[in-house]
Amino acid sequence: AQQMAGRDATRPSAKLGLGRAATPEEITAWDTDVRPDGRGLPVGKGTVKQGDDLFQEKCASCHGEFGQGVGRWPVLAGGAGTLKADRPDKTVGSFWPDLSTVFDYIKRAMPYGNAQSLTNDEVYALTAYILSMNDIVKDETFELNEKNFTSIKMPNAAAFFEDDRETSEKHFWNKSPCMKDCRPAPKVTGRAMAIDVTPDGKSGPKVE
């Protein structure tokens, strides 16, 4: 915001001149994200075995010993082959397309209630254990590190495609929607009151 000669003293400059340079330490502190191509992975390592120990200590109380989930806490393992089933079981193994997501997410958000408390080695180990619970690696001596990380392929990776609603749902664009006698007389086929899970006096489904 340098003052320019001959210019109205209060007219704004083109550059705002706001903010300050981020320092390298600050960027390191916050820039912990990891991408599918491995960008952002820190140097580090951990084995399935180490991950198992850590998981039982810090994670199993919610996610269960084998990632099966306790009560309504999230399930992390299993579900392979269920995505077309009536009630799909979407887990890291059955659904997630990228391993980087596991590292990125655990590092920033887990354990729930004590986020950002894990070292990079611990996150590698936990990620390795989650792979093992999902039968993506079979060997409990397997060590995950920044060098072999991107070589792991996730089973459901190929199943994701870009939003195609504008073509696959083109028939929802309609210049003259029907106004009169559009369908046969409707019949009630389902009632929320029969299912009876609405809060306020009524109880929800039991926690199994």
């Binding site: 990125d104 929802f172 007389a185 086929t189 009632r191």
Partner: protein, 400 residues
């Protein structure tokens, strides 16, 4: 018990003591102007609250509550009633301690204070925010009995903030920057990827809502506003923006907020919220109480532009009439619609359908299921049916 049409003017009416006796509030002084420096609703409105569904999640800190749409009118959602969705509870941040970093594919990585941001050129816009999971519990059929629960993951707010482009220009985007990662300062470290075209188009970094500072549960002191796109992208407690050349594939855009179809494949990057509407009155929590004249009311919105028209059916979609839209019609904002009608106690099957400025017509639930199956959780914008029984009682039903 339904009241019939009232005694017509001129017919005999009975005097009410409420009128013939002087009431306390007409006689004695009420609260003075020093009683409520920040005002609250009347004690007679204690039912007008956000409600959560305890069985939905294991923990109230990663859960959702719902806007009581059936109690509201107009297009602005009162800030205290805007639904909440958190992944690690509400971050409580002193604005003096808040920082926003921009890094990655930029000429100069920068750190901004809140004071810095408030010195940038501001804009004011009204937008709806709908969670992509709104109506998600209804994919397989009617489940929750009230529009608060079936449609209450939406709010509509006037934001004040800075175009994201202003901040990006200050840091200088590199030409290969194609995506941004937005990151929150909460204990979930919420992060999502945003395509650069949208970022440079109409995205805002907002610090005020409905005239005052953002509410804590809406990201105080700073959140992203991404008009027309799913709420999960609108990162709250925004602390960092990183520019990159590809999407990050974060947990919130892979494990969640992707749409599993019947064939086992999943759509990703389903950002836009399709046109949708709901009749808020009558609805299960707001049944009809009187025969004779009544007001049907509801909300409609579209992530693709403005709502052009709303049609309402009283017979489950056989016949439709065009509703009256009243109040401001803004881009990517809800509109309020009404149908003034007479009701003589006949059973009604009430539906509404929104039509937006691109010509998209809100589909029936069955038409939606035909394309998407019932497992996608997100983006359920199918037409809702309320069954009004002859006593006025109103139910969430599926019809076939």
């Amino acid at each position: 018990a339904l009241s019939a049409i009232p005694a017509l003017a001129g017919e005999t009416a009975k005097s009410e003591a409420l009128i013939t006796d002087v009431q306390d509030w007409q006689r004695y002084l009420g609260d003075g102007v020093d009683k409520h420096p920040y005002g609250v609703p009347s004690k007679f409105e204690k039912n007008v609250i956000r409600r959560d569904v305890p069985w939905l999640t294991a923990s109230a800190e990663s859960s959702v509550n719902f806007t009581p749409l059936h109690e509201l009118d107009g297009i602005i959602t009162p800030s205290g009633l805007c639904f909440e969705r958190h992944h690690g509870g509400v971050a409580e941040i002193n604005p003096a301690d808040h920082r926003l970093m921009i890094n990655g594919l930029v000429d100069k990585p920068l750190v901004f204070t809140m004071d810095d941001i408030k010195r940038m050129p501001r804009v004011n816009k009204v937008y709806f925010l709908e969670c992509a999971a709104n109506s998600g519990m209804e994919w397989r059929g009617s489940q929750l009995n009230g529009c608060q629960f079936t449609h209450g993951m939406i709010h509509n707010v006037m934001y004040t903030g800075v175009p994201l482009k202003v901040l990006l220009d200050e840091a200088g985007l590199k030409p290969n920057a194609k995506w941004l990662m937005l990151e929150g300062a909460d204990s979930a470290g919420m992060n999502r990827s945003l395509p650069i075209e949208k970022a440079l188009n109409d995205v805002m970094i907002a610090f005020a809502m409905n005239g005052e500072a953002l509410r804590p549960e809406q990201g105080y002191p700073l959140r992203v506003v991404i008009p027309g796109w799913e709420g999960n992208l609108w990162v709250k407690w925004l602390r960092r923006i990183e520019a990159g050349d590809q999407p990050w594939q974060t947990r919130e855009e892979t494990s969640k907020y992707t749409d599993l179809l019947a064939d086992g494949n999943s759509r990703k990057h389903t950002f836009v919220m399709d046109a949708k509407s709901v009749v808020t009155n009558p609805s299960p929590q707001a049944p009809l109480k009187h025969k004779g004249r009544n007001v049907l009311s509801g909300l409609a919105w579209s992530g693709r532009g403005t709502v052009k028209r709303v049609d309402v059916s009283m017979d489950g979609g056989r016949n439709w009439q065009t509703a009256r839209i009243d109040g401001p019609v803004f881009d990517k904002s809800v509109v309020r619609f009404y149908v003034d009608f007479d009701w003589n106690g006949q059973e009604l099957m009430i539906q509404s359908r929104a039509i937006d400025s691109t010509g998209y017509v809100q589909p029936s639930k069955d038409d939606l299921r035909k394309v998407r199956g019932v497992n996608s959780i997100y983006h359920n914008n199918g037409i809702q049916t309320w069954l009004v029984r002859s006593g006025g009682e109103t139910e969430n039903v599926e019809i076939g």
